[in-house]
Amino acid sequence: MGFPLLFQPAQFNQDSCCCTKYLYGPFVHSNFSQVALRGFQTGAVSRDIDTAAKFIGAGAATVGVAGSGAGIGTVFGSLIIGYARPSTINPSLKQQLFSYAILGFALSEAMGLFCLMVAFLILFAM
């Protein structure tokens, strides 16, 4: 069972475009899952320690996006609390509140995306 796998042609490695890589899939129905597994194991990129370090760094840097999630949750939770207060005097406060909530959402999302951008920077530019 293992031997035919070992002698699979290595054409998947030379493909530089990821889009055509998947086009081979439907034609090799019988052992597609094994071929896909094979693609994971024999990818030329996964050999280099440098690339492995980049992957680990990018994965670790993506954890920072959790802060953005916490921030957005806080902002909209406070918006709901602010909406629930009896605002009998000034209905236009709801409009202002919502506008500030959208501002807070965008700023918090920006922080999360800065973190994600550092992850991409590590992955591709360094």
Binding site: S16, C17, C18, C19, Y22, G25, P26, F32, V45, Q95, S99, I102, L103, F105, A106, L107, E109, A110, L113, F114, L116, M117, L123, F124
Partner: protein, 227 residues
């Protein structure tokens, strides 16, 4: 490899002509001018109403000096909203994913607000560097921190817009590729992923409009401090 997913952000060039110039001109033809009539047609009336609503909401907190900026900022907002929304169409290039464009919007406008503040009311503008009620020993540190915060503003403005749009487009392309690959193998999982893709597209439409609005809102807030 993921590097190919970034090809969508390359500035398109056809026969040596940078097509980004064409992409930047396109929103101009989408917003017709009002005709010289007392009452215009429905489209122009709606357009005028929505623009005046946005202007009213953004510029009410500002004083007279700030109202001079209304034309510039509102037209910039319409430009950014249309660029972002047009970029969500398939195979359409989004110019606002280019950091150079967003920094070209952010840096001159931020610098203009700072210069206006320093020129007309230098004491008040510099006074913003120190919040009220700081304890005496903290003053030097806080001034340094506030100056750094001031200089980070244009960077944050530009990068916020770029990163939001780039990340959104990347996510859409990734999930769409996942759906496309999963479809012959596990159709049910592909349908679930397709529903995720649909929700993501709705989120991206919202983000496209929100990010343009926040860009202008923050500029108006910086103006409010300085004018």
């Amino acid at each position: 490899m993921m590097l190919n997913f970034f090809d969508q952000f390359m500035s398109p060039v056809l026969l040596g002509i940078p097509l980004i110039a064409l992409a930047l001109l396109l929103p101009w033809i989408l917003f017709p001018n009002p005709a010289a009539r007392w009452i215009n047609n429905r489209l122009i009336t709606l357009q005028g109403w929505s623009i005046s609503q946005a202007t009213h909401q953004l510029f009410t907190p500002l004083n007279q000096g700030g109202h001079k900026w209304a034309t510039l900022l509102i037209s910039l907002m319409i430009f950014l909203i249309s660029l972002n929304l047009l970029g969500l169409l398939p195979y359409t290039f989004t110019p606002t994913t280019q950091l150079s464009l967003n920094m070209a919007f952010a840096v001159p406008l931020w610098l203009a607000t700072v210069i206006v503040g320093l020129r007309n009311q230098p004491t008040i503008a510099l006074g913003h560097l120190l919040p009220e009620g700081t304890p005496l020993p903290l003053i030097p540190v806080l001034i340094i921190i506030e100056t750094i915060s001031l200089f980070i503003r244009p960077l944050a403005l530009g990068v916020r817009l770029t990163a939001n749009l780039t990340a959104g487009h990347l996510l859409i392309q990734l999930i769409a590729t996942a759906v496309f690959v999963l479809l012959p193998l596990m159709p049910t999982v592909a349908i679930l992923t397709a529903s995720v893709l649909f929700l993501l597209t709705l989120l991206e439409v919202a983000v496209a409009m929100i990010q343009a609005y926040v860009f202008i809102l923050l500029l108006s807030l910086y103006l409010q401090e300085n004018v």
